[in-house]
Symmetry: C2
Subunit: 202 residues, 2 copies
């Protein structure tokens, strides 16, 4: 790698880290490329030599967040050797805890909308799909007779339901719930859902 | 009422309807008080003689949306005379359909954040709590031995889970699901959750 390329890579990494810190502190709406340029010591326009646009920058930060979430979920799975059902409960609670601890970065992934007519790039879509394996694997053990498509749908339903509980539980609104109570509610509902799915399978 | 007060009330109603149309067309981010003032034929600053601030305006629109949602859920409950469990399924599907048909207005209610340090006013909180009765009543029939607090928590969990499925299902993203498939997934998961909750109760 030439010195110039090396410098560019270093600056690009600085930019993504600075954006991550800014979103964590101010939320997605507080992300200002002008402030980022000043922070990493480059001209305003030079930011767009490092990333194509703000969409890419936000997705690069999201990619880092997803990798940390992946680690947190892997740790939750490794922590015990429980039944597949209890593994799903552990994953749901780890998801809730991760969201609470990384509130603005986690929110940013869901609040961010691509500019009109632009699709999420493949590398980012892959980051997202990767995470589903944590839900998919225990489900495949619980429902060995289900095919891949059906398991995919069940995984998505379960994830969406838990995501909804975490979103509304962590909002500072009417339904705001203290974290220990939220964990308990999530565990209760995931257990009930799995029980019910197993019973309906028979 | 004096003529001046009548005129003010008329203008206020016009403002709220214009804001509703604007959010429905452009989303919450597209709501511009300058455009609203032009549309209802008053000076920019005069908008703030009609509502205290943009927060109030958005909540007034939200109040109208919640009342229409209430009607949609009531109609779903009246439509059949099924079991309490199937009533909960009907309500969940009606919620999904309402969100799909009123996408931007529905999103606006959840995207809107009050300005820092301001609480949601009581009239708006009441609008929101009212809706929980649709879930609470069938749950109380299904779980007669549960107290009001516990039923409230179950109602919140169920609502949050369905809300999550609707939010992620209607997003134009990775997990975007065609509406008929989404309805089926929601019905399946609500039935499983209730089955599971009943089984755990015994």
């Amino acid at each position: 790698m030439t010195k110039a390329l090396e410098r560019r890579e270093k600056l690009r990494a600085d930019l993504i880290l600075a954006a991550e810190r800014m979103i964590a502190q101010r939320g997605l709406a507080g992300l200002k490329t002008r402030d980022l340029a000043r922070e990493i010591g480059c001209a305003n326009g030079a930011v767009y030599n490092l990333v194509a646009d703000v969409d890419e920058l936000v997705l690069r930060v999201g990619s880092r967040t997803l990798h940390r979430l992946d680690e947190a979920l892997s740790a939750a799975v490794r922590a015990g050797n429980p039944s597949p059902q209890e593994t799903l409960v552990c994953i749901a609670i780890a998801y809730c805890d991760f969201a609470a601890e990384n509130l603005e970065l986690w929110r940013a992934m869901f609040e961010h909308r691509m500019e009109a007519d632009k699709d999420v790039p493949d590398w980012s879509a892959k980051d997202q799909m990767q995470l589903f394996r944590h839900i998919y694997v225990p489900l495949a053990t619980l429902f060995p007779e289900r095919g891949a498509d059906e398991l995919g749908i069940t995984a998505r339903s379960l994830f969406s339901a838990v995501h909804g509980m975490v979103v509304l539980g962590l909002e500072q609104r009417l339904v705001a719930v203290p974290l220990p109570a939220l964990r308990k509610e999530i565990a209760g509902l995931v257990r009930a859902m799995i029980d019910g799915l197993i019973a309906r399978e028979r």
